[in-house]
Amino acid sequence: MSNENNNNQTDNDQPCCDQAGCNQSGSRQKLLGIIPLDWRFDLASIPLIRWILKQRWFPLCFIFMNMFLFMLILMSGVIGGFSSGNYSFGIMMVWILWWVVLMMILVPVFSRTWCMVCPLPSFGEWLQRIKIFGVGKKVGGLNLKWPKKLSNMWIMNILFLMTTYFSGFFTVRPLATFFMLGSLIVLGIVFMMIFEKRTFCLYVCPVSGFQGLYSNLGMSEIRVKDPKICEKHKKKTCVTGNKNGYGCPWMLEPHSFKKNTYCGMCLECFKSCPFDNMAFNLRPPATDLLVDEKRGLDEAWKCFIMLAIAVMFYVAMMGPWGTIKNWVRGETFIGWFKFISLHTFFALVVIPGIFGIFAWLSKVVSGEKDIRLKKVFVNLSYSLVPMGLAAWIAFSFGFLLPNGSYLLHIFSDPFARGWDLFGTAGIPWTPFGTVWLVPLQFFTLLGGYLVSVDYGYKLCLQTFADTATAKRGFIPLLVLLTLVTIAFGWLYGG
């Protein structure tokens, strides 16, 4: 059975409870007291699925399909209806369809499957491999190692935050979307030519960082089935590669990694493992939040930045504050400058500061003397992940329901030139289910809150020495999570 494999209690320096599925009493941990955290179902145990995952044309066929769509998106930035966001194929596809599907389905359910089918780095990757389809030994490009110091989320944090500086342009100027996607493709090629493998995806791509963090919540994972088989397999072809597949392009060790953050789900390990020892598991949400591996301030700040952006986007796009909207749209440079300074300060200082105060309170209230504040701060920050994603989903409902019907139009008339490819160009703008908007947002936030609280408590158990201190240390965190949820509820609903 493929189930218990992520519970290997090896190489932890901590005394107890590092892994999902174990707590002090030794009984199974459960999500919200219902779903056991170590429940797994290996999709690849279905023979047809495993066969598909092992084919070289998979996920290549999806990459090609997306490449086709992305070419159309890029083109619409140049020849489409320039300034009118609602009739721009690029804007609607990227900011309504892609973003919403990413936030609502791909990340929460399928973790980093977007990276599996993402066409952006493919040009670079094919140049690097000097191959599109097969597996070869030759490498194009310099294949340099990425510096250790930068092997974290900081660059992605900063790039992602900087991308949001232009959020006022993305939804109204097709050219802005063109430049954003275009520069990702170009940067991808440059990086692939200089650095080894998927360095670009791992440490640079701004879309990668939040997917990495939030995929810890995702309900799928690629893991090894039986570690004992890996132990006996000295060659470790999932790392080194063989004629069926490349060694892990994401520079993980597929035979032993425990956390979704840096797994781009490229499926090479399914192909390179001669024992079919890889599993594509469905699992309860967020179990990776309890995995104490590569935790750090970079990921903590990612949590903060994502929360800050969820707030800022709402304020800028749907809130009633006209002046701020004008700042974001960059009507005057001074206004725009005010916006980016405030936004940056809010994301990098205010939110972390507030969290810091509560982390400190948690340490104080817990009564545990010799625990480091940094450890409390970093560990507890992961409890913000479910709530952050919930806020993003709630926010996405806010533009999907009112604007979703534009999609039908742009499929038929992608460049606003009066085409009618599928006969849907004439469909008028019909906001859909908007009466459900606020209740939907409310339940999404509530769900995120419950999961956050549940994991917050488990993280406290993991952080503090014993159950009593953990319970006390949990109180400030509970207060914070409640306040943040109320704040989002107020912002979105009232």
């Binding site: 086709f68 009739y87 606003a416």
Partner: protein, 134 residues
Amino acid sequence: MEANLPMKIIKSTLSILLLLFCTIGPIYASLRYEASLTKDFTADIVARTPEKGNFSPRHIKVQVGQKVKLRVRNVDTVMHGFAIPALGIDAGELKAGKNKILEFTPTKPGIYDFYCTTWCSEFHLQMRGILEVE
């Protein structure tokens, strides 16, 4: 066991073809489709507020007695309009991102003004162009 050469060649050709199909393909196909739709157009007029570029082209020459087919495309974020009052042509309101096709046959030579008909910016009154019938 090495994969045999013909197989290799087939695979590389196929992947290159696929790559072209998915990159150049959509560009070529859409440009061709657009060209086939617009081949009998006399002019394709893009509408923007005067400070962002005005109508373009702003000067159109046509022959008297010959059918004229114009497309007016509003690529702006604001509403525009299009009319040639002297010829009794009015496209009505053109919402942002919308476009309209106008067909008519001018019967008298002359110089006719066309205008934007909705107040689109403070320079709205400058949003005009000329249709020259020879």
